[in-house]
Structure formats: structure tokens, C-alpha cells
């Protein structure tokens, strides 16, 4: 992988995050520039409403600011840390709303399955803006639709394999198998990516 590729979220370096951890606001602003379109897309995909997504994203960045010193580079790239944080908070948000019986329940349960599957295959071609994006999209495309669906339901809807099994009315064992197969394919397909992220211990 090309380590000198232009500035985007794939190349948030550890040094930048270290500066953020030291309270460097300029570094934080840079971090925001490099990551916000990816994280906003992620949060928006999970919570659905732009207003909620913006509020939530603000919380995520403020949390990142406070906790930057806890970031452990041995665990993965800074962007992986941010993605994990943003995804968790967004799913917490959706769950909390659902628990209060808010309208989001509808969007969780009524999301047409076809939308989840259909949005990937060809729409993806147009949007590959970076090498990394192209790699992830290409890896996702190698998955059969049933496997892509379980990945989407787990990652973006925050469903466990039991919940997915109930949602799709497919036996538990089949769901587990699909997730495993899909994950193995993704891991294989994204090998250049995690080698880059995990290969260099500081």
C-alpha cells in the first residue's frame, strides 16, 4: 500500500493523534478535516436523520478529543479507533431510542431488506474515490448478497447473529456460517489494509 497517498482518513497518522492527545487543537482540526466525511457517512447510515447524525458526530469528536490519550496504537490504526467509537455511539443511540419506543423502531424493523442488499453492487463503482475505498468496495462485491446482507445488518444495524436469524427467519447456524464466510472473505480481500495497519508496531 502506498503510504504517501494524499490526505484522507486512511492516512491519519499516529503522530497526529498523539498531538491531539497532548491537547493540540490545530491537530484536532486536522483530524476532523481528514475523518469527518467518513464518520458522518457512517453515523448517518446508522441513525438515518441528518440532524441526529450531526449531533451524534459532535459527541463522538468531543469524546475522541477527551480520550485521545487512551488510544493504543498496538490495537489498530487511528481511523479504526474512530470508526469503532462512532459506530458504537450511533448504535447506542438507535438502541436507546428504540427502547423508548420512538419512531426509530420503525426504521429498524421496516428497513426494506432489498435496500440493504441493492445499494451495494453497482452504485459502488462510481464512488470509488481512493485506493482504500476501491479495495473495500471490491471486497464487498465478492460477497454473495446473502452474506453482504448479514454483514450490513450486524455492522450498521447492530444486530447480533441471533437477532439477524430472527429478522430474516433463517436458521441460526446458517446465519453464523454466512457471517464467518463473509468475514473470512473480507479479511482475505482487505489483507493489504490490515497488514499496513497492524504490521508496523509503532
Amino acid at each position: 500500500m502506498d503510504a504517501s497517498s494524499p490526505k484522507n482518513s486512511s492516512t491519519v497518522d499516529r503522530e497526529l493523534l498523539a498531538r491531539v492527545a497532548n491537547g493540540d487543537q490545530e491537530a484536532f482540526e486536522q483530524l476532523y478535516e481528514q475523518t469527518s466525511s467518513l464518520l458522518y457517512a457512517l453515523v448517518l447510515r446508522i441513525v438515518g436523520k441528518p440532524g441526529d447524525a450531526a449531533d451524534l458526530l459532535q459527541e463522538v469528536y468531543l469524546e475522541a478529543w477527551r480520550k485521545a490519550s487512551n488510544y493504543d496504537s498496538a490495537r489498530g490504526a487511528p481511523i479504526a479507533w474512530l470508526v469503532t467509537l462512532a459506530r458504537s455511539r450511533a448504535i447506542d443511540w438507535v438502541r436507546a431510542l428504540a427502547a423508548r419506543g420512538k419512531d426509530v423502531t420503525a426504521s429498524l424493523d421496516d428497513t426494506p431488506v432489498s435496500y440493504l442488499v441493492a445499494q451495494d453492487p453497482d452504485a459502488l463503482d462510481i464512488r470509488a474515490a481512493s485506493e482504500r475505498q476501491a479495495l473495500v468496495q471490491a471486497s464487498l462485491k465478492t460477497l454473495p448478497p446473502v452474506q453482504r446482507l448479514v454483514i450490513e445488518l450486524a455492522f450498521y444495524e447492530g444486530l447480533t447473529h441471533t437477532e439477524i436469524s430472527e429478522r430474516l427467519n433463517v436458521p441460526l447456524g446458517t446465519i453464523k456460517t454466512r457471517i464467518r464466510l463473509a468475514m473470512e472473505k473480507l479479511r482475505d480481500g482487505l489483507q493489504p489494509l490490515w497488514e499496513e495497519e497492524l504490521g508496523i508496531p509503532n
Binding site: L38, A74, E184, L193
Partner: protein, 370 residues
């Protein structure tokens, strides 16, 4: 649960899709220092956290950045209310106190985002040492001595060890291959089941179509028999002439035979609308002569004062005649003056007042095209 089963659950765990009770067991295992699982987990997690790259990038509202930067320098960065038009966030977002974080949804977060070095903090890569390394660290002298001893005893022990290691690796690899194949077989099986279901459905549909064709064939045979009988009777001059004056025969057996046996005849298949799901019909048209034959089955019986009317639709619907049903739910019509087949877009049957209507007014019961 043994290591193998746990390793199988790793990908689900990395995706955050493992059920909560299994999560606990997995985390115990990882905390116990399984280096193989930890390495694999990081690979899976790196893959998972790359997933959002597949989304189309979205630019957040332009005001967001300044809102965040303002909140940073504000006195209470961690508790500031973020939305002007709303008194508070719809849910208590875990802001400052980390213990508000829902343990479930973020079950895989703590190990990525330790608040502080947790007691069961997973050992880092550097903490996993081979026994040789551990020995070397513990006692360089002992290691050296052991090395000398190994050399002294001869390369045999070392080579034996290497062979054993190689074999162990090979076995592990084979086992992984087998496990992977098993998964693939299971998935193929489920795909096969889906295909089989689709095939069964297609077979049923085909059978219905064949039934319809069979009926037509039967009808044709019967008509030919009638004609033959009639011809014999005509030749011999026997038999009451009126006996066979049914509508069809009267309309011209010659036409019917010619149409049904013509190699150039075109066939249209009509199927029942919601009004008559079981109904179907066929139309045979002989190009160039404007003649044809219509046969319908399974239409509902007509209400009093009503009739079925067949329409040939070109740029407008043209009546091709009215018909009623025999006691077996069958209806038939001999057709004349049908427009050229190239102009025909569709055929349709509607319910009309007795005697028919210049244009279709009632519900459509059958529809189809050539």
C-alpha cells in the same frame, strides 16, 4: 467451549454480532492470552472498521466543525448541549462518565478503547514470547547451556523438534482448510435449497401451462373427430343435418380445421386477471386471412343479463364478438376480420351487458398478447 469453537466465533465477535453471553466467554479467552486469537481478531477488526469506506462519503453540515471547535475551548467541553433548537439530546449520550456507555452495544469497544489500563487488559504483541524467548529472558546462561546440551546430544533432537513443529503446523493448516470447506459446503447447501424451491415453483407453473396446452389439444382432437363424422355422414347422406348445428360447426368447420392446423397460425395465451385468477384462454390467428379461433376455460359463470366480450386491441379496442359459457365453464368463438397480426397489441375479455358494447366498459377478466 474449546479453542477451536472460540476461534470460530472470533469473526462474529469482531463484527459485534456475537450474542452477549458468548461475548463474555470470548473475552475471558482473549484475556487469558491466546495470541493466535488476538492476532486473528485484530485482522478481523481492521477489516470491519474499513467497512464504512464502502459508503458514499457525506459531508457533514459546515457549521459542525466550528460547533465542535467552540465546544473544545469552552469551559465544559464534555457536557455542552449541542443543539440549539432542542433542549437536550433525545437520549443521554454517554459523554463524560465512561461507565454510562452501554456495555452491550459497545462490547468490543473496551478492549479497543480502554479507559485506563484494565486489569484484564489484553497482553500486547510483545508479551507473547515463545518458550525459547522466555527462557532466554529468564536465564541467558541456562539458555546457552541448554543450547550446548542440544548441540552435544546431537542435531537429532533439534531436527526431531523441527519435524514435529512442521507437522504440527501442517496439521493445523489442514484442520483450518477442512473447517473452511465445511463452512463453504454448508453455505452452498443453503443456496441449493433456495434454488430447489425456485425450481419447484417453476415446475408447477410449467405444469399448469402444459395442462392448458393439453386441453387445447384435446379440444382439437374432438373437433376433428366431429368433422370426420360429419363428413362421413354428409357423404353417405345419413343423419339428421340439424344435429350438429352447434355454433362452432355452423360457423364453419373448414375454418376451424384450417386455423388449427395451419403452420403459420399464431397463438396468444391469455391469463386471468384478479377477477378470474383460475381462468385462461387461447387465441389462434391465421395471418393474412383475418380468421381465428378463441377458446377460454375456467371463467366464472355469467350473472343474468351479462355476457363476455372479446376485444382485439390495436391502437384501440375492437370487438371480436361476445360469448357465453357452456356448463363446463368453457367459452369459444370463431373470429373473422381480425386486423393484421402486426397491428395487434393485446387481447382482452371484459364483462359487458348482454349483446355486447361498442367499447369495453366492464371489468377485464382475461388479458394476453401474441
Amino acid at each position: 467451549m474449546d479453542h477451536e469453537q472460540l476461534e470460530e466465533n472470533l469473526s462474529l465477535y469482531a463484527l459485534g454480532a456475537l450474542d452477549p453471553d458468548s461475548v463474555y466467554e470470548m473475552e475471558q479467552h482473549l484475556a487469558a492470552g491466546c495470541s493466535a486469537c488476538s492476532t486473528l481478531l485484530r485482522q478481523y477488526q481492521a477489516a470491519v472498521t474499513s467497512l464504512p469506506y464502502a459508503l458514499p462519503p457525506q459531508t457533514p453540515p459546515s457549521a459542525l466543525k466550528s460547533r465542535i471547535m467552540t465546544a473544545l475551548s469552552g469551559p465544559a467541553a464534555s457536557t455542552i448541549s449541542v443543539r440549539a433548537d432542542k433542549p437536550a439530546s433525545p437520549v443521554p449520550i454517554p459523554t463524560a462518565p465512561p461507565d454510562l456507555v452501554s456495555p452491550r452495544a459497545s462490547s468490543w469497544v473496551p478492549q479497543d478503547l480502554p479507559e485506563k489500563p484494565a486489569p484484564q487488559h489484553l497482553p500486547g504483541r510483545s508479551e507473547f514470547l515463545t518458550w525459547q524467548d522466555q527462557l532466554r529472558v529468564a536465564s541467558p546462561a541456562l539458555a546457552t547451556a541448554l543450547g550446548a546440551l542440544l548441540l552435544g546430544v546431537g542435531g537429532y533432537a533439534a531436527s526431531l523438534y523441527n519435524t514435529l513443529e512442521a507437522e504440527r503446523t501442517a496439521t493445523a493448516r489442514d484442520r483450518a482448510e477442512v473447517a473452511k470447506s465445511k463452512l463453504e459446503i454448508a453455505d452452498l447447501k443453503s443456496q441449493l435449497e433456495d434454488k430447489q424451491a425456485a425450481l419447484t415453483k417453476a415446475t408447477t407453473e410449467m405444469k399448469r401451462a402444459l395442462d392448458a396446452l393439453g386441453t387445447t389439444h384435446e379440444l382439437l382432437t374432438r373437433r376433428q373427430e366431429q368433422i370426420e363424422t360429419l363428413q362421413v355422414q354428409l357423404k353417405t347422406g345419413r343423419g339428421p343435418k340439424d344435429r350438429y348445428r352447434t355454433d362452432v360447426v355452423q360457423a364453419g368447420n373448414d375454418d376451424l380445421v384450417r386455423i388449427l392446423t395451419s403452420p403459420t397460425a399464431k397463438m396468444a395465451s391469455l391469463s386471468g386477471t384478479v377477477k378470474a385468477k383460475e381462468a385462461y384462454a387461447m387465441i389462434f390467428v391465421e395471418p393474412g386471412t383475418g380468421r381465428g379461433f378463441f377458446y377460454a376455460n375456467n371463467l366464472p359463470f355469467l350473472p343474468a343479463g351479462m355476457t363476455y366480450q372479446l376485444w382485439v386491441i390495436t391502437d384501440k379496442p375492437i370487438s371480436a364478438g361476445v360469448f357465453t359459457l357452456d356448463p363446463g365453464h368453457k367459452g369459444r368463438l370463431l373470429l373473422r376480420g381480425i386486423p393484421d397480426v402486426s397491428l395487434i397489441k393485446k387481447f382482452a375479455v371484459s364483462l359487458e351487458p348482454e349483446g355486447g358494447h361498442p367499447k369495453p366498459t366492464g371489468s377485464i377478466y382475461l388479458v394476453g398478447a401474441l
